[in-house]
Amino acid sequence: MTAVSSTLLTPRLTAVVAHNWKLAIAVAVVVSAISMAGLPAAVSFWVVGAAAALVAAAFTVNAYRRHYFGALLVAPAIAVLFVMNIFPLLWSLGLSFFAYQANQQTIRFVGLGNYVRILTNDLAAHATWGALINTAMFVVFTVSAQMIVGFLLAILFAKQFPLRKYLLILVLTPMMLSVVASGVFFTYYYDPTFGILSYVINSISGNQFILMSNKVGAVAGIVFADAWMWSPFVMLLVLAGLVSVPKYLYEAAAIDRISSWRQFWMITFPYIRGLLMLALLFRTIEAFKLADLVILLTKGGNDTLTISYHLIRIANEQNKTSEGAAISYLMLFMVIVLTNLYLYLANRRTKGA
């Protein structure tokens, strides 16, 4: 293959052949620049898009003629990734430096103005920081609840007992339900007039019990609903780790009369640590984006507004598109930092062990 590819000579920059990607780039840059300067935005957008397609085509032909089949095979995936992910990401990054509202026809460059506004303006920053603190609180509470419950469930289901298979399916059901269905279910569950929770507590205490009437209750309600839905996910991952531990290690440990506590730390934990870390990572990222349950259960009342819901309100409801873009980048930045911190800690532990 290398022998074949070397026969294709690199064309001169000005040679008009289909695999001359350098020329394609040069043409694309010039055409894009001219169209952006001279054509209306709606037209130049598509001209630039066509120029990008031209470059991509030149690369493809180049790869084909040079028999880079590996590159050709991944090309569709990269194209989809670019169109669906990278392009919108860059586009919204660009938007975050402008004053732009989706329902108005004007756009103005403001540099870092949006970021300054969401972090320091006394009205906007107050909401941002409040929402971030609430989000951090939900991350800590929901993730720890899910990790603990999921872990305990996994320990339980790692053992064999009658009806285990059916109970396992039952425990997994909440995870398969749509969030909206669960949210509506919990709305009724917590409702002081129709709900069973208030009904039971009222008949014991005699007083009217209203769970969602203060912050503690509202947070507890959301955390419980979230843990109910996502603990099974943690359980599944941990369970996979638990069943992969070779039985002979435990047998050897039993012969050595090692306490079950030490057995856990010396044998079980090293096997499930990677999966626990994965569960923690997934759940943290998800919890950071929590909005659906908050919308369904409190609408952000009782100081439960999370950063995602705040973003939905700013960008989708109030049409402050570029301010929303700035908030999304703030969120993205935090998630990336958080994720890398996790990975760093996980790797350091592995090396230390």
Partner: protein, 477 residues
């Protein structure tokens, strides 16, 4: 690939791009015209679609197809907003909430209809026969100027829903009289005459615990006197707070006075605070869900249909469900009257109230043929015959000759309160910033409703926010 094929490829890409650009527009032949419509999913729009399918024969001779997207109320704004701002140009016709007008007119999505009205004497006559409160709220932007954007689809007001079996019970009547020295409202006329004091008394009087007696029967669950929207979502507390603020002589920021009108000193004037405090005082007699800040129009309606409250103030648009025995435990016990008002020292009742209901609007990308058919449809919809049928099926009409017909009040039990309510209806802002005004205000009201802060702090915070926002928008000097 040669240079020529490259050019060809570029041309294909460009034509593909062009198709995408105009993709949203529906091309219709002269024979078949499709009108795509976004509407909230509830009886007034379902009835409209049913009538259209069964009865509509376009005068133009074309085949008109009405392609309706029924969207649940809680998502309605977000979905329509997303469709409009994304530029997909999907809908020709939108049932818009009245306060959205400014936002979507300024965005270039809603089409001004003055030319259509002027060009069509029949349509002009129909629009002129509309009650002015409804026409101003549903059609004009800026509010109350002769710039028209909407045709009323379904006009709506707040009315009192009552339970006859409880209110008219002799024992309850006697006990109420003994306690408050006034008659417990039982008939529609008595409810019409009711002011907030009596309403509050009803609330206090009917607070019963499980095991207590209600109208001679032992209760198996707690019972409450009154319910009235006080929820955090959408405008589910704004509608009730505005009503109280106006009745006490306070105000909201008045866009017709822009740019000299202010929010500071108006929104948080002593009279506005008094109005808000009056509203907050009633909450303690409402079902406990009100303390969670989620008692919206649907929750209070459900509580009423489940037989948990004696009176509920709600939109007429939700009324059909309470009449149907399948969805209502009180279907055979209903009585309706005007929403209560504030009785002044002179004995006159001030009933100024937040108007509900929705107009149709046309979008700017609708083609001339579509507009022609849309106008034909609107004229048909607003024709007296169809308006009578609509009212008979549970809708309402704002056309004078229709609602003043003696037949009108016989259609539905709440129709007796309809025509009388129209005169004192007012609307909130129509400005493009309405959603920011609304969400911030809803957040603040929620804090007051759930007991986190008092009325003065709440209105001070709202006034400060609005003054700042509207100043930046150039609506306040």
């Amino acid at each position: 690939m040669t240079a020529m094929t490259k050019v060809k490829g570029l041309a294909t890409a460009a034509s593909f791009a062009a198709t995408l650009l105009v993709g949203g527009v529906t091309y219709a032949s002269a024979e078949e015209v499709t009108l795509t419509m976004a509407v909230p999913d509830w009886p007034p729009t379902r009835i409209m679609k049913k009538f259209f399918d069964e009865q509509y024969k376009p005068k133009s001779g074309n085949t008109v197809k009405l392609d309706v997207d029924f969207i649940p109320w809680p998502d309605f704004y977000t979905r329509v907003n997303a469709s409009l701002t994304s530029g997909e140009k999907k809908y020709n016709f939108i049932v818009s909430d009245s306060q959205w007008l400014g936002a979507f007119v300024e965005g270039g999505y809603f089409r001004k209809i003055n030319d259509l009205i002027d060009a069509d004497p029949e349509l002009k006559a129909t629009m002129e026969s509309m009650h002015p409160a409804v026409l101003n709220a549903y059609s004009t932007y800026p509010n109350s100027t002769p710039n028209y954007y909407g045709f009323p689809q379904f006009p709506d007001v707040l009315v009192t829903y009552g339970r006859k079996d409880v209110l008219c019970n002799d024992d309850e009547q006697a006990a109420f009289k003994a306690k408050y020295n006034e008659k417990l409202p039982c008939t529609g006329e008595e409810i019409d005459a009711m002011d907030w004091n009596t309403f509050e008394h009803v609330g206090e009087f009917f607070q019963r615990k499980k095991g207590d007696k209600l109208a001679g029967q032992v209760l198996d669950d707690d019972f409450y006197g009154i319910a009235y929207q006080a929820g955090k979502g959408y405008d589910f507390s704004t509608s009730s707070v505005h009503t109280f603020v106006w009745q006490h002589g306070g105000g909201i920021w008045d866009e017709t006075k822009a740019p000299t009108g202010h929010a500071e000193g108006v929104v948080n004037s002593p009279k506005s605070i008094e109005g808000m405090e009056h509203f907050l005082k009633l909450l303690k007699y409402m079902p406990p869900v009100v303390k969670t800040g989620t008692m919206d129009i649907f929750v209070s309606d459900q509580l009423f249909r489940e037989g948990k409250v004696a009176m509920n103030i709600d939109w007429i648009g939700l009324g059909e469900a309470s009449l149907d025995p399948k969805t209502s435990k009180v279907a055979d016990k209903l009585v309706f009257g005007l929403a209560p008002g504030l009785r002044g020292p002179d004995g006159k009742v001030n009933r100024t109230s937040q108007i509900g209901g929705q107009p149709f609007v046309l979008t700017t990308w609708t083609t001339p043929e579509q507009i022609k058919e849309a106008v034909g449809f609107v004229k048909w919809w607003l024709s007296p015959d169809i308006q009578h049928q609509f009212a008979a099926a549970g809708g309402q009409s704002a056309i004078k000759s229709v609602y003043s017909d003696p037949k009108y009040v016989t259609y539905r039990p709440w129709d007796r309160a309809w025509a009388n309510s129209l005169d004192w209806q007012k609307d909130m802002w129509h400005v493009p910033q309405f959603f920011e005004l609304l969400t911030q205000q809803q957040d603040q009201y929620d804090l007051a409703i759930t007991g986190k802060q008092d009325a003065k702090t709440t209105l001070d915070n709202i006034a400060k926010f609005q003054e700042d926002l509207l100043k930046n928008a150039g609506l306040i000097q």
